[in-house]
Symmetry: C2
Subunit: 492 residues, 2 copies
């Protein structure tokens, strides 16, 4: 990987003086075009050993371009906020929105490489980590992000020479840090780990570009030109039209039974039983979430269901048992501008709860494989890959100790009709029913297909779906509370 980056590439002063202003101007232009185009984000990862010119390079880019559209982020020791959430959270927070360029120092490579170099990660763990990185970057690329990964390289000889030269003069001696000396000691190991890591994670969608870091002028022109070419190429490319044709592939094409048919929707609770059960499970939930050990875990509860299935009511019965300071409810409607400018999981990652807290989602990331699928808001390939991406997302939460509970509140088509009518008749409920609800109802069967696929493909040991028979609101609410208690109890 590093063969070509140990040749002593240099650019002489006059060439640089000639090329630099042109490149700057072109980059600035391209940056504005990107901003105007607004259809994709640009992610630059700048990595490499200490002293190979990473920060100098980034400073030059910041100088050359408009810093307002440039987001630069380095990852030091994890903050409290970060420590109390799964690792990817800090990286999701740092993603650039569409129309902008984000520069991440080391990004998700830093921690992996360091752990491997120090021997804290086995070969096999490292392999798994690299595979996870590939998934993540593939997801970003599929969401439209233009990814370029620059590795600033310095040969061992040049690295030593640089440190010696800097150490000679009192004015520059401070630039040779203890980290530099550490880097030198572990140079061979780092090189070996990096070669393997770079090779494994260099893909057509997210290629690594190794740049010799020795000569500042060479470094600047090389990175700048590659960035410029990539921007120009992408902006000039025709925007792909999503093929929203229905994929019959995953749909059970035979008239037969499905998961939802098998639910016994006639299950109900009498008012008295309901009230005593409700009190019992709410008390249990209150106790569990106030337990000392609860501070070590967290809960993500997602509510999905037919329109008018009673999600709101069920959620209120849950939250009324909780300490008001311990939970947040996120109603998931159309995404905001800021959310639209990010990969679709971004708006959920941003709301992943800290340890000791509960996040309730009224509708969730499953919109991707429900409404977006049925309404053709995203391409077939997009919702098909979403199953795997969602499973990855929930695995990251679960691995961190977060209880992931998912409820599908199911009512019959007749019951929905009855509730719609009732809503239209009752003044204070009329706001709850819109023409869209009636339109959705026409696609009942397509939603059934989507729900069954969703359950089949995303009900995992670590994050199982609970199908809730919701024709009777009492029954549904108690089932939700009880399930939630049991899941939390198992995790404590």
């Amino acid at each position: 990987m590093f063969e070509s980056a140990e040749l002593g590439h240099r650019v002489d002063k006059s060439t640089y003086k000639d090329a630099e202003p042109k490149l700057r101007e072109a980059l600035l232009d391209a940056q504005y075009d990107l901003h105007e185009d607004g259809s994709f984000a640009v992610l630059l990862i700048v990595a490499g050993p200490e002293g190979a010119g990473r920060s100098e390079m980034v400073n030059v880019l910041k100088e050359w371009m408009d810093p307002r559209h440039l987001v630069v982020k380095a990852f030091g020791p994890r903050s409290d906020e970060e420590q109390e959430r799964p690792l990817p959270w800090r990286y999701w927070r740092a993603l650039p929105p569409k129309g902008r360029i984000g520069i991440l120092f080391n990004a998700w490579y830093g921690e992996a490489f360091v752990r491997r170099v120090l021997g804290d990660a086995s070969a096999s763990e490292f392999e798994n980590y690299l595979a996870g990185i590939k998934h993540h970057e593939a997801m970003l690329a599929n969401e439209g992000t233009l990814i370029l990964k620059f590795w600033m390289h310095l040969s061992k000889k040049d690295f030593q020479a640089r440190n010696k030269a800097l150490s000679k003069h009192p004015e520059t001696r401070w630039r040779v840090t203890p980290e530099d000396r550490e880097t030198y000691k572990r140079y061979d190991k780092l090189k070996q780990v990096a070669e393997h890591g770079l090779r494994t994670t260099s893909t057509a969608q997210a290629p690594w570009i190794v740049v010799e870091g020795l000569d500042e002028r060479y470094r600047n022109l090389t990175v700048g030109t590659i960035l410029l070419n990539a921007l120009r190429d992408r902006i000039s490319r025709e925007k792909p039209q999503p093929t929203t044709a229905k994929a019959a592939l995953l749909v059970d094409t035979q008239p037969s039974v499905n998961l939802l048919d098998r639910l016994n929707l006639s299950q109900k609770l009498e008012r008295d039983t309901y009230q005593s059960e409700l009190a019992k499970w709410q008390a249990r939930l209150g106790t569990l979430t106030r337990a000392r050990k609860f501070a070590q875990i967290a809960v993500v509860a997602a509510f999905e269901g037919n329109d008018a299935a009673g999600k709101g009511g069920a959620i209120r019965r849950v939250t009324s048992a909780l300490d008001a300071r311990a939970y947040d409810v996120y109603p998931v409607a159309a995404p905001t501008d800021e959310e639209r400018a990010q990969p679709y999981l971004w708006r959920f990652w941003r709301n992943v709860p800290r340890r000791g807290r509960i996040a309730v989602f009224d509708r969730s990331w499953y919109g991707r494989v429900l409404v977006e699928r049925v309404e053709g808001f995203c391409a077939v390939a997009d919702w098909m890959r979403a199953y795997g991406e969602i499973n990855d997302f929930e695995a990251r939460l679960s691995d961190f100790g977060i209880v992931v509970a998912k409820f599908w509140l199911s009512i019959s088509k007749d019951e929905q009709y009855r509730r719609f009518q009732e809503r239209e008749k009752t003044t204070f409920k009329r706001f709850k029913i819109t023409p869209e609800d009636w339109r959705n109802r026409e696609k009942w069967d397509e939603y059934v297909d989507a729900v069954c696929d969703m359950v089949d493909r995303t009900s995992t040991e670590y994050a199982p779906w609970t199908l809730v028979e919701a024709n009777d609101k009492y029954f549904a609410r108690v089932k939700v509370l009880k399930t939630l208690c049991e899941r939390i109890e198992a995790a404590l």
Copy 2:
């Protein structure tokens, strides 16, 4: 993953009688359209536990369709031929060509799932294996293969019921095999492994479809309809036009030095020295390849280089030291029809040597990132992903104990001109020079970029590139022989 496949799906007789002939006819039509279209291969993987109806299903498909365009392959214990080559070899051999449908029983899943169920593979090894499968299937899909993976499922209860029913009657008792009893014992473990494995490897490009195997009619109609829809969808889709625009991305855009510039092409050997060195290294090579331990390894030697760099001469000096029965030389020119109908690595996989043998490739799989890249014969994304695919390929060879030696024979542009002229003047050499050689020469600089990228991205610890200074043929031949001896010596 199996929720929907434990509901007892059934299709009644009359529905089936009505639907089956129509489906058969439509499938046969689609099969002929596929054959005529000829632009992609179809790969069906049929997997699942014993007794869930895999073979019955495949028999029905064979009955319904034209068996001439249908390739069915099951993988039993490995043959001698297969045992003496890396594992993937048997699967590569079984791939259907474009225009055909190939059905593989279990394919690459069988061995992985069994090893995991029996505890022969750790969780981490299993994870790595699944990641490898995803790479492999992504490669096939990128090469245009339509992949559908069917998992025939039977609930534990139904599985037991089936065995009981069959055991009752003497005429059917033989159908309950010892494997069935084994399957039952390990049912829960298999289900858990399969759920995880299916979920991890179900992608938009290669989705798993779980089919309840209980009812034959349901099974047949479901698989048939899904296959039909997928075929129809793909055949009707517009053929993508490869964007062969040059990707400036990987190219060093600054006028500077490159790997090839740094070679000292003036190195030479005098005739006398050459003859004694040649004799010495040929003797060494002869001895090494006849050693007892050589039967445990194998050699793959790839020769690339500028036109007229002397590949043929160097190869002859190698092979003349070898036992004529122990090696094959594969000249790699334009692919045959059969090879064109397969992923580009297929023609190299088919020629992977058995243990104890030597395969010499005169030009190689690197054509993808050299001539195909420079001439625009494949899309940018195709050659960019090829680096990773080639590294995977060579890793599989190396893991199996095969020595992978790769030589780039490098001559200067002036020296090439001299040799071209000489060839045109000498009658018996004239066949060696064509207008194409002159045309290639015009793209000298683009080839230089491609060669440097190739070395940077595919020179690995397990399969390093050797750059051979070849202005002097004597020097080049001896360097090749010596390198080969050293590599083999290290492996013995």
